[in-house]
């Protein structure tokens, strides 16, 4: 099978999930992604160690000492080697490494330099220290998540990092297209906050129009009856009884076909009565049945439903094995382990997991040898510790 991004060279400088995820997506489609780190970053808690097991698959790792002359030469050689640099470093690391996109781009006008920061490189908060949690707090996202009686609630993962990781991948591929036509690289100034704000579902747009704010409504929303998490006998289930065409199927599925005939269900026009009636039928029925019973029954009748899984449950979900979403690799530090596979199902150039995440500096010698001979001779990479 061919790789869509074969021959694409990517330098990844990262202390965050977004750059690592962007690099992962590029590497799944065949890009040659090299992570450069120093001894301090080898111990870095970001991106999280467990996440590196899947985020760094397919990549190579080079260890260098940015304070030493040969370390600086190696870094510049890597910047000269790369088509794309994806950089998500903290400001002090950027300074310690002397990473300077303007300088690099002057030397290499065709370089695509993707900068990922919490707020972007412009604006009054450009230098404000932050992370995904801070971005979730400032975006308003936490204020629309959770139960009204609880505090504003964070999402269970670093969602702004993941959004921005993919968005950066999109920007990189668009910039490559532009470069193919014009020969010119560019600086992609991506911000965690900007990207998260484009995924806020129009809550801000509605606020601009009505000056009304969506409150936290917990696991269901009165405006969308039947859409949410509901309590079952043995846990929770999710249903999406959306619209007047799903409703009759639901009534039949719960053996109450007479409900389908009631006037409030033949039109969605009377939203309040409709919502109350859906809840009145759905909530007690769920409480009387197990998750498995509910899901089996509803899905059989074409009503969208799913169990609310724990992490122990999800790893046994049949589609994961069937579609290659759990992959075994030989990790250099952990031995044979299972990692998350590639979501990029392309018929001619599918995303692939070729090898496990590297140990820090595992590929220093190999990569150094591949760099332009003159440069490589001067810049001997350090061996891994």
């Amino acid at each position: 099978m061919a790789d869509a991004l074969a021959g694409l060279r990517v330098l990844e400088l990262r202390q965050g999930i977004a750059a690592a995820y962007c690099g992962m997506l590029l590497s799944d489609l065949g890009a040659d992604v090299v992570i450069a780190i120093d001894r301090v970053m080898a111990e870095d808690p970001d991106p999280p160690l467990a996440a590196q097991l899947y985020l760094d698959r397919n990549k190579r790792s080079v260890l260098l000492d940015p304070a030493a002359e040969n370390g600086q030469q190696l870094l510049l050689a890597l910047a000269g080697w790369a088509d794309v640099a994806v950089e998500e470093l903290l400001p002090d690391t950027r300074a310690r490494w002397h990473v300077d996109p303007d300088l690099w781009r002057r030397a290499r006008p065709d370089l695509i330099y993707a900068s990922i920061t919490p707020f972007g490189r412009t604006g009054p908060d450009a230098d404000r220290p932050a992370s995904d949690l801070i971005v979730q707090a400032l975006s308003g996202f936490m204020n629309i998540t959770g139960f009204p009686e609880d505090p504003p609630t964070r999402s269970g993962t670093s969602l702004s990092e993941y959004y921005t990781g993919v968005a950066t991948g999109v920007a990189v591929l668009a910039a490559l297209r532009h470069r193919d036509r014009t020969g010119r690289g560019q600086l992609l100034d991506m911000a965690l906050l900007d990207t998260l704000l484009t995924a806020m579902e129009g809550v801000p747009d509605t606020f601009f129009r009505t000056r009304e704010l969506r409150p936290r409504t917990g696991n269901s929303n009165p405006l969308f009856p039947g859409y949410g998490f509901y309590e079952a006998k043995d846990g929770h289930v999710a249903t999406a009884i959306q619209g007047v065409n799903i409703w009759p199927r639901f009534c039949i599925a719960i053996d109450r076909p007479e409900l389908a005939e009631r006037p409030e269900f033949t039109s969605q026009a009377d939203q309040d009565r409709w919502g109350a009636a859906v809840s009145a039928a759905l909530i007690p029925w769920c409480l009387e049945h197990t998750r498995a019973e509910i899901v089996e029954r509803l899905v059989a009748f074409g009503v969208p439903a799913a169990p609310v899984n724990t992490l122990a449950d999800v790893i046994h979900e049949p589609p994961l094995a069937d579609r290659g979403m759990l992959v075994e690799v030989d990790d250099p530090r952990r031995g044979r382990i299972t990692i998350t596979g590639s979501p990029l199902h392309l018929s001619e150039t599918p995303g692939r997991v070729r090898r496990a995440a590297p140990a820090p500096g595992q590929d220093s010698r190999e990569v150094t040898a591949e760099l332009r001979p003159g440069t490589a001779a001067r810049a001997a990479a350090q061996s891994p510790a």
Partner: protein, 402 residues
């Protein structure tokens, strides 16, 4: 300035969130996106908006996703509607859809048919569980992905049930992944002339974002579950705490941030205390970290806490409402929101592009979300060379009405 994707034509059959978001992003980057809007769906969305907010002049809240697009309402139950779609695909680069698997085939416009029409076509599909596999027939929504991936089990407070994120988080991931795959496929096509089919699943899009929790469960048998506003990865040193007047998010999980925290709290010993001085120690002594931060934040206003932490270089932020967020100087400076003139609703501020700061090819919001079928004439003239008479004839035959 020409967009990076100015030579890419997208025939967009997408509905709801994931695919409209995808094609909105492509359009920001300059792609020509022709939205094939089913009038009934457009009416449902408009009716829904009017009902929900009891204001008939409102446009749907999610309509921002259709910025920069043109709209044609094709009746795909009419043979001439199907024929017209194929003509557009022949002139297109990318087809986008998110019907249940098999639906496009039943309409006579599945991938194999469209590939025969145009072998270079890139066919981007998003579905609940993918086009293959044991659940491919399941219908899908974000809420089901949040449930089945276990995402709900790691969001919310331990005393509460698993909790859904407050918006359709999965759709945006899936839309982004599809956009990424489309651009990679375009690159492959430039080299080989070969189109292909893309199969993105909502379930997998969210499963990818589990931050190593899957690896921990699968390899170490460690099943994480929700910890309220504490980071599952980093613990209480990265969490939101209650202040005198609200909630303050603080992130001091890194050593240098923890050192800053010790300065801000005027407790220099915190940075040297072996129970707290390293990342691993802070994970082991979560109760001490939690009580230290909770009591300090509780003793002051959010604003004071935020200022003192930021002065010491520690990431901190008041937990804002959307109303506060849109007024923030940073958000205004970055220009995330755009003003457009909508054909019905007039001047509107809508969510804009995440690509506004690409130095050579910045993403732009150049036109308002369209009304259904607003562009039938210009599109059919420009793309297919139709005359007014031909278009009127098709109109009379009901090709543009479902």
């Amino acid at each position: 300035m020409a967009g990076a994707l100015a030579d890419v034509r997208v025939i967009d059959l997408g509905t709801v969130i994931a695919q409209p978001y995808n094609t909105g992003l492509l359009a920001d980057l300059g792609a020509e996106v022709i939205k094939i809007a089913e009038p009934a769906a457009a009416e449902r969305a408009a009716t829904g908006a009017a009902l929900r907010f009891r204001n008939p002049n409102l446009i749907p809240m999610g309509i921002y996703r259709d910025r920069n697009k043109e709209s044609i309402s094709l009746n795909l139950r009419h043979p001439k509607g199907v024929a017209l779609l194929k003509e557009l695909v022949r002139q297109g680069d990318v087809v986008i859809e998110n019907f249940s698997p098999g639906t496009m085939d039943r309409m006579g416009v599945g991938y194999e048919v469209l590939r025969a029409v145009n072998p270079r076509i890139i066919y981007g599909a998003v579905s609940a569980f993918g086009q293959t596999g044991p659940y491919s027939h399941h219908r899908g929504y974000d809420i089901l992905a949040q449930a089945r991936t276990g995402y709900g089990s790691v969001t919310g407070f331990p005393h509460q049930p698993p909790t859904r994120a407050g918006n359709s988080i999965t759709d945006y991931y899936a839309g982004l992944l599809c956009a990424f795959a489309v651009l990679a496929a375009l690159r492959h096509r430039e080299r080989t002339g070969e189109g292909q089919a893309i199969d993105i699943a909502l379930f997998e899009a969210l499963f990818m974002q589990l931050e190593g929790y899957v690896e921990r469960a699968k390899n170490d048998g460690e099943v994480l579950s929700r910890q309220g506003n504490e980071s599952l990865t980093h613990g209480p040193s990265c969490a939101a705490y209650e202040s005198q007047d609200g909630w303050l998010a603080v992130d001091a999980h890194r050593d240098e941030w923890w050192a800053g925290l010790s300065r801000a709290l005027e407790q220099p010993e915190m940075a040297r205390d072996p129970r707290l001085s390293t990342y691993a120690a802070r994970r082991d002594n979560a109760d001490l970290v939690r009580s230290t931060l909770a009591s300090w934040v509780a003793a002051r206003t959010s604003e004071e806490g935020e200022r003192r932490l930021l002065d010491a270089g520690v990431p901190a932020a008041r937990v804002l409402t959307v109303a506060e967020m849109v007024e923030s100087p940073q958000v205004k400076a970055r220009g995330v929101y755009a003003t457009v003139v909508h054909a019905n609703a007039g001047r509107q501020t809508i969510t804009g592009t995440p690509f506004g700061h690409l130095s050579e090819t910045p993403g732009q919001v150049h036109s308002a979300p369209p009304l259904a079928n607003q562009h039938v004439r210009p599109v059919l003239k420009r793309v297919l060379g139709y005359t007014d008479e031909q278009i009127e004839e098709l109109e009379a035959e009901g090709v543009f009405r479902a």
